[in-house]
């Protein structure tokens, strides 16, 4: 590499970097260690734990993992299982598969049909959380909601979406909400495939499914992995189901972010809330490390 002239001297560079560095250290790095410290104390918002928190060792963690209560409704284990289902069905299956289907459906097609469908998916994705949650509360309403109107119109029985099948409700919601990201990512991945790859398959008379399975999917493998990890991270950390179900009924949709909120800000138990936050961060760390190592490997092979 040829020696390049330094444009910004080191000292000026550090000066430019300093304000952003202060923010990142204060609001990203510090909270990471702070959550660990608080998770070993009985810190609370009110009462004696607020003024003089004590070191309580592993108590908070032992309570979270207590075998007798672990899987009971409203407890940590049950919440983890709910979150796992939510991520699996709404992100990995719902958003990724639907996103791929949409990208594939409009692949090599430029028309107003494609524009319309993609724009509608994107609108569902960019409207603020509270607004889509409000719209979905109405959409799923038992007595007046649009979905039950459609069902009765088709001669099917009404479903009590929010009280009867709340998990299915937030899974449908999150699939609808987030599919646009996967669709856009897969569309651009498909767009980067050289047409010659498919022309050979056209000549040999392969059908659409064979082309997708044997040619397309192997070629966009890294994009698929990127997509799956990003949507897993986002879905795992999202608080939005709270806006529709509040975590209920009877804790049945209480994903870990809502559980943390309830423990820390309803029961004011910061120690226990921090212990859950710590475990969430460790799970995030595992996903992020897998992602970064894959990114690096891809850059190395480029």
């Amino acid at each position: 590499m040829p020696e390049r002239r330094t444009i910004l001297p080191l000292r000026t560079g550090l000066l430019f970097l300093a304000p952003a560095a202060i923010f990142v250290v204060a609001f990203i790095v510090l909270p990471f260690f702070w959550v660990a410290v608080v998770s070993f104390t009985n810190r609370s918002l009110t009462g004696p734990g607020a003024l003089h928190p004590h070191f309580v060792g592993l108590t908070n963690y032992l309570q979270l993992f207590a075998p007798r209560t672990f899987l009971q409704p409203g407890q940590f284990g049950s919440s983890l299982l709910i979150t796992g289902q939510f991520v699996l069905f709404s992100a990995l299956i719902g958003q990724a598969v639907l996103g791929l289907v949409l990208a594939w459906l409009f692949y090599r097609r430029e028309s107003w049909v494609k524009q319309t469908v993609q724009t509608l998916a994107i609108v569902a994705w960019i409207i603020p959380d509270v607004v889509v949650a409000f719209a979905w509360s109405a959409f799923l309403d038992y007595g007046q909601g649009t979905l039950n109107h459609i069902l009765t119109g088709l001669g099917l029985p009404r479903v009590d979406w929010l009280l009867g099948v709340p998990m299915l409700s937030i899974i449908l919601f999150n699939t609808w909400r987030g599919t646009a990201f996967s669709m856009l990512l897969f569309s651009s991945a498909l767009g980067s495939i050289p047409p010659s790859h498919l022309e050979t398959a056209d000549v040999t008379g392969a059908n659409a499914w064979q082309k997708l399975r044997d040619i397309i999917l192997p070629l966009i493998r890294t994009h698929i992995v990127t997509d799956l990890i990003l949507i897993t991270l986002w879905t795992f950390n999202t608080f939005t189901p709270f806006l529709i179900t509040g975590g209920g009924p009877a804790f049945r949709t209480e994903v870990v972010s809502i559980l943390t909120y309830r423990i820390a800000f309803k029961y004011f138990n910061f120690g226990s809330g921090s212990a859950i936050g710590m475990i969430m961060m460790l799970i995030n760390l595992a996903f992020a490390l897998v992602y970064l190592s894959l990114l690096r490997r891809r850059e190395a092979t480029r």
Binding site: P128, V130, V131
Partner: protein, 276 residues
């Protein structure tokens, strides 16, 4: 036979497209009609009688007006200015100065920011703002959003600065410009499109953000529109539905407008960046 197959394929394509369009559109139809319906309930129907009075109700509600036209703008605008300024300076330094280990620094930034999310870090973020004496202040909300959005903003900006040829700046230096003068007069005008994208992205994120103001703010007079809408619809009742749907529409319009603007001005390439 081949013609028949072609027709069938086309028909299947259009049928599939129509179903997908309906799936995405139907949950939002109610939100489009109810604001103009004097007797709106949770059911979808054409507005009857058609009215604009619901918007009048919004403007007559001091809490709603203050949340949307003051607090949301202060919070989203404040974070937008801070993030854009700091991310531009930082990205420029990471791209153009001989800081050692800057690539490792960039990786670390992405790693940390994807681990320490707002929900996982809710307790330490609350305690931090509490110990700064900023609970229930707009500034506290602005600071937390700025810290949370900066890493991604720096990443977007660095991509941008890296793609600019260094020759302009080098000739300015040869001509005897100072480091600051060169940054201000040469670099800033060139990276302005990147700054626009980061600014819009930050604004939309804070404008739509619910969780951070929800846990940091207490008094109704400080609430942004997102928290106001939540407090409206959790109260329920028909009169509140007419108000809340009209209010939701007003609150959503800037987001749609900004999306259209970025899409028109910079094309789809940047779209991935408009939402985290």
């Amino acid at each position: 036979m081949r013609l028949l197959r072609l027709v069938l394929t086309r028909a299947t394509f259009y049928a599939a497209a129509a179903i997908f369009a309906a799936l995405f559109a139907i949950p939002l139809v109610w939100l489009l009609f109810a604001p103009f319906d004097a007797r709106a309930n949770l059911a979808v129907r054409l507005p009857h009688p058609f009215t604009l009075a619901n918007f009048g109700k919004v403007f007559a509600n001091a809490f709603a007006v203050r949340a949307l036209f003051q607090n949301s703008i202060i919070q989203a605008g404040g974070a937008m200015l801070l993030v854009t300024l700091l991310a531009t300076l930082a990205a420029y330094a990471l791209s153009r100065s001989p800081i050692r280990g800057k690539d490792l620094l960039s990786y670390g930034l992405v790693l940390f920011s994807s681990i320490v999310t707002g929900t996982a870090a809710m307790v330490p973020l609350f305690l931090l703002i509490y110990s700064l004496g900023l609970i229930d202040t707009q500034l506290g909300v602005i600071l937390v959003f700025t810290g949370g959005l900066l890493p991604a903003a720096i990443f977007i900006m660095r991509d941008f600065v890296d793609s600019i040829p260094r020759s302009y700046e080098e000739s300015a230096l040869v001509a005897g410009a100072s480091a600051w003068g060169m940054f201000k007069d040469i670099a800033l005008p060139i990276v302005r499109p990147g700054m626009m994208v980061v600014a819009v992205w930050t604004f939309v994120n804070v404008w739509g953000g619910f969780f951070v103001p929800f846990i940091l703010l207490r008094s109704p007079s400080n609430m942004p529109a997102s928290v106001a809408i939540y407090s409206f619809y959790t109260e329920g009742g028909t009169p509140i539905i007419t108000l809340t749907t009209a209010y939701s529409l007003l609150y959503t319009l800037p987001v749609l407008a900004l999306y259209l603007f970025v899409n028109w001005r910079y094309g789809f390439r940047f779209f991935g960046g408009i939402k985290s």
